[in-house]
Each structure stands twice: as C-alpha cells, then as structure tokens.
C-alpha cells in the first residue's frame, strides 16, 4: 500500500513532517483537582488528576516522596469495532506503567512526601498515537492541578513508511506494520525520558526518525504552553485582578 503519494502527501493529506491538528481544553472534570482533554486529529483523550492527597493504602506510603499512581483505560467505543476489553490486560497495564514512570520523572515528588497523586487517563477516540496523547493530556491535567513539576512532558510518535519518516502516525499508518517510534521529552531540559520502538529499523534511519519525533514533541510543547498560558490568563481575569 502507498502511504505517501508521489506528490508527497499522506493518506489524510498531511505532509510527512506535519502533525495532526492539536486541540486541548483544560478543566473539563469539575470534581477533579486537575483535568484536561487533548486531541490529536481524531484521537481524543481525557485525563484527570487527584492529589496530592492522603495515601489510601498505608502500606504503599513512601516517606521521602509522593506516590504516583496511574490508570489507563480505553473506552469500548473508541475503536472501529466495538469490543469489550478486559480490564487490566497486558497492553493497558504496560501503558499505565509507561505513563506513570514518565510523569513521575517530571513531578517534583520530593516536595510532597507521604502523599499520593492519582492520574486517570481514558481514551475516548483511538486513531493512532494514543500513548502520546495520554501523556500530553496527563501533563496538562497535572499542570491544572497545580502539582509542582520540573518541566512539561510532551510526547509524539513517528514512523517510517515507504522509506519516508512520517510524523504523528494515525491508525492506518500505525497498523501498517512499519516501525513506530514513540518519544517523550522534557522540552526545556532537552532530555528524552520515554522512548519506545517497534519493528526493524537501521540505526541511522532510527536516528532520523527519533529526531523527527523529538521535533514533533517540541511542537506539541509549544502548543501546550500556549494553552496553559491562555488558561492562566482566563483564571486571572476571572479573579478580576
């Protein structure tokens, strides 16, 4: 199948180095301490953060830092064929772990000892790049909850099809069986915290694809910063300062 047309356009009309349209909204769950919806094209993810609060299970309490917990779930109606997905299957367990460890890295956990931060992410529409979208949504929700962080974490995927590196794969491109690189970075520190890759890729090609994904992450970071700034300004005006 042809994923890049001779004119250099992808199946959904994007250029190879273009992300899908981003959209984000902060404060969508009223009871949560922080929440956000993040969209990348047709992928839509909602995230809610509770905490820092008292540790529910005392045995899990850590005395010198906060406990971060994450639960990832994917709605039954989010994919093309509606399927009942068993809770706690291996894939979603892995994604939960990946998101938790990624977010843990940017949260200043040592400032909140003996407390717990819960992150819930749910995929509402899945069209490729759900893992990245979840991390971006979680970042926004954490920022909304006012949890101290050393940096934003942003994530983006990139692939390699028809010998072209492609940014931000959608579902069709993702399921083509080609390599798929998911990167999560701390944009200000310029460090890579999350890196996952599937399928076979030459080393120099991998470097290019990873570089492309990092560029994508930086673009996402700029957008998230804009949204956060806008949201803060709105809060400011609400207070009437």
């Amino acid at each position: 199948m042809e994923y890049v047309s001779p004119e250099g356009l992808r199946l959904d009309g994007r250029r190879p180095m273009e992300t899908r349209q981003l959209r984000a909204e902060i404060g969508v769950v009223s009871r949560a301490d922080g929440s956000a919806v993040f969209e990348m094209g047709n992928t839509k993810v909602i995230a809610a953060v509770y905490g820092p609060r008292e540790v529910q299970n005392r045995s899990q309490q850590i005395n010198d830092k906060a406990l971060v917990l994450c639960e990832y779930s994917i709605a039954n109606f989010s994919t093309g064929d509606r399927m009942r997905k068993p809770k706690g299957d291996r894939l979603s367990m892995e994604i939960s772990l990946v998101i938790r460890q990624t977010m843990e890295e940017c949260i200043l956990t040592h400032l909140m000892p003996r407390s717990q931060i819960d992150i819930f992410v749910q995929v509402l529409q899945a069209d490729g790049g759900t893992r990245s979208a979840c991390i971006n949504a979680a970042t926004l929700a954490l920022a909304d909850a006012g949890i101290p962080m050393c940096d934003l974490v942003t994530s983006c995927s990139a692939g390699y099809l028809n010998s072209t590196p492609l940014l931000d794969l959608n579902y069709v491109e993702d399921s083509a069986g080609g390599p798929d690189v998911i990167v999560g970075i701390l944009p200000n520190l310029d460090k890579v915290t999350l890196l996952q890759m599937d399928a076979e890729l030459q080393m120099d090609t991998f470097e290019n694809v990873m570089q492309l994904a990092i560029e994508g992450c930086k673009a996402v970071a700029n957008y998230l910063r804009e949204i956060l700034l806008e949201h803060t300004k709105k809060l400011e005006s609400c207070r009437g300062v």
Binding site: I99, Q101, K191, V192, M203
Partner: protein, 447 residues
Amino acid sequence: MEQRLANAWRMTVNEKKFIETALLSDLRIDGRRPFDYRNLTIRFGREDGSSEVQLGQTHVMGFVTSQLVQPYRDRPNEGTLAIYTELSPMADPSFEAGRPAESAVELGRIIDRGLRESRAVDTESLCVVAGKWVWSLRIDLHILDNGGNLVDAANIAALASLLTFRRPECTLGGEDGQEVIIHAPEAREALPLTVHHLPIAITFAFIGDENTVVIDPSHFEEAVMGGRMTATLNANGDICAVQKAGGEGVIQSVIMQCLRIASVKAVDITRKIEDAVKSNNTERALRKIKRHPPSAVVDVIKAGQKGADNLLEENMEKPKQEIEDTIVSQSDDMDIETRSSNQNESKPRIDKNTSFIGGPSSWDPYSKGVNVDELKASLASRVAALPSEKMDTAPPVEPRVTVTDPPLTSTNAAPSSEENTGAGQQTNKEKTLKDAVKPKHKRKKKT
C-alpha cells in the same frame, strides 16, 4: 505496583552513595567496567525447546511448547507466538504469587515486541491448513533467581529455547485428505522453527546525578538507577525494539551511543547463543546415534564395498533419474553407510521427510548428494558379505537398509538374494514412506 513498594528491598543511603561514587571512577561493585557484560551460560534440557540461562546471578528458564489451534480470523495463514513470564516468589522478595505484577507484564511485553514485531520467527511456516489449523507456540519464561537485568536473561532464554525447539511434523491425510496427522518425533524427525534473526535485548541503566551509563545492571545497581533503557538489536545492527519507559531523562546523543554499544554486544551474544545451540545439536545427535548398535556393521559394509563395486558396474545402464528418486526416499538408516563414502556427486538433498535419526540436525548427510554407486555397493555388499556375518550378530543389528520404493528393488542387481538377506526387513510390495519406518520401530521397541 503494590509490591514494588511493600516488600521491595531497599538500600541504605551509604550503599547507594558507594555505588554512585565508585561509578564516577568507572568501577562497579562486582568489579566490572561500565560496559562489561556478566558471564553468560546457556544450558539446554534433554527435551527440545528447553533452556536455562544464567547471567551472573540471574537465572531464567525458558520452555517452548506448541499446540495446533485455529488461527486468528484476520491472519488465517500465520501461526501464533505468545510469551508468558512467571516471576516466582522464590526469586526475589518483591515478587508475589498470584496475578502477574506490572514488572512481569513489562518484561513479557519487551521480549514479545522484540520477537514478534521484528518477525524473528517465521509464523507463516507454522501454518498447517490456512484458516483452520496453525501451530501456536507458547514460550514460558520462569525467573528462578533475580540477580538483576531480567530482561536480557529472559530474552536469551527465549531465543535459546526457540532455536532448539522442534515441532512434530504433520501431514494431511485421512479419508477426505483433510485430517491432520501429527507424526510422533520417533516416526518422523521433528522440524526446527524458522528463525530469521536473533533479536538480542541489551539493557542499560542510568545511575546517579551524572547519569552514568552502565550495561547489564545487577540488582544492586537496579535499586539505585534512575532510569533504564532496553534496546533490542540483531547481529546485523538493525534495531528491533527500544524500551525506555520513563525514568531519568537522557540526551539524545547518549541514547545513540548506547545503541552503538548494544549493536556490538548483540553480535557477541548472538555468537554465544549460536555456539551453544550448535554444540547442543551435536550432543543431541550423538545421543540418538548411541541407540544404534556398535559400528561392526559399518565396517563390514566398508570392507565389502570394493568387491561389490564391479558388481554394480553392470547396473549403470539404469535410468539415472529413476535411481535418484529412489535415493530420496531411502529411510534414514542409510546414512551410516553413505557417510563412509566421500566421492559423492553434488546433488541437493530433496528429501525432508525421511526420519533421519542418526546425525546432528544441522549436519546434512545428503548435502553432497548420495553416490548412487556407493549406495548400491552397500546394498550389494550386504548381499555378498552379510549373510554369514549377520546371522551371528543378528539380534542387535537393526535394519541397515530399508528399500521402500519399488523402482530400486526392481532394478536391483540381485533382488531375490537381497530379499533373503533382508529377512523381512525389505519388502517388495508397494509401500509408502511411512511404512518404511514402521517395521524398524516395532523392532526397536522389542530390543
């Protein structure tokens, strides 16, 4: 996640500091350099598809089993491959019995991705009837001792057991030709899997404030590390999978440096695995050879060969093609004789079905082709030399020659006398390849 906090063994501040400061001067607590791998030992069980890997203190057992199942609807002609990890509570205080923990799931997923997404195992060759029956492989990885770096050890165990695994051969048969017949490994040599390349997982740990990189962390180092990255590469330097699930951020150049180091180590480990598998194959073959009686018969045949050669010249006018066909259907017992002859024509071995039990599976007795003359010589020599010999040593001697295809016997130099010698071992009747094997086994059971 629960047990990561509850029972996890925690290090004292002093111990952590010690490891970190020692690393600043390129020293590790077990005396390795930052990019030294621990000692790797691979052992195999007696059964096919089992392996035991010891990487330093880490001990992992791998076991592959297969089963005929219905394929997935979207992939009707592909076999399946599933990986199950079991972290025995015996291996580490933080492992708990019951539901697999997050770490067990991640371990399985990393290995699964490395093996499956890079298509290391040819799943299409596991198909028996498209849409109906395919082989489903199950790799069980048991962690027996956690000395750190479970991923690499488990990955090597998975590869080693896949390489030695043999699935029983099966054919279609029955009344409607749709029934799947699974042949016992004794009847037909079981087939090894097609493994295209070996994706080797190499784990790096990032320790301390300076993010010192070390390869193959021990469990002490795992307790202090800030982040971990597992790169799965094959010997060609292709990256099959990378997993860095959060943790300490590192700059891009460090990642690329790690990948380059990993590609060197991957070549190293691939060679180790291949060597271990090769020696296992030889051993396996030797084990089987022992079942044959001592080499007396072979010697006799060799001695008789020369005299028989002239006898065979007469038969040279036989159509060559016909003979070649018959050779192909020889049963395995022929190989001992053919091995003693070296002046073979180069003819590829066509036959995969013969139940060849006599040699290492990687070693192809027919690789140089079978010299028709030699073969006949051996047959004829039996006619000439065996009768008297054979009567004496009769009981332990297994059928050395089993001629199954009618053409050969009909064109044979002395068909009648051969039948006599064979004493029921050879039949002239129309028989299939399968029948050729049966009498031998009946005999084997008796002895």
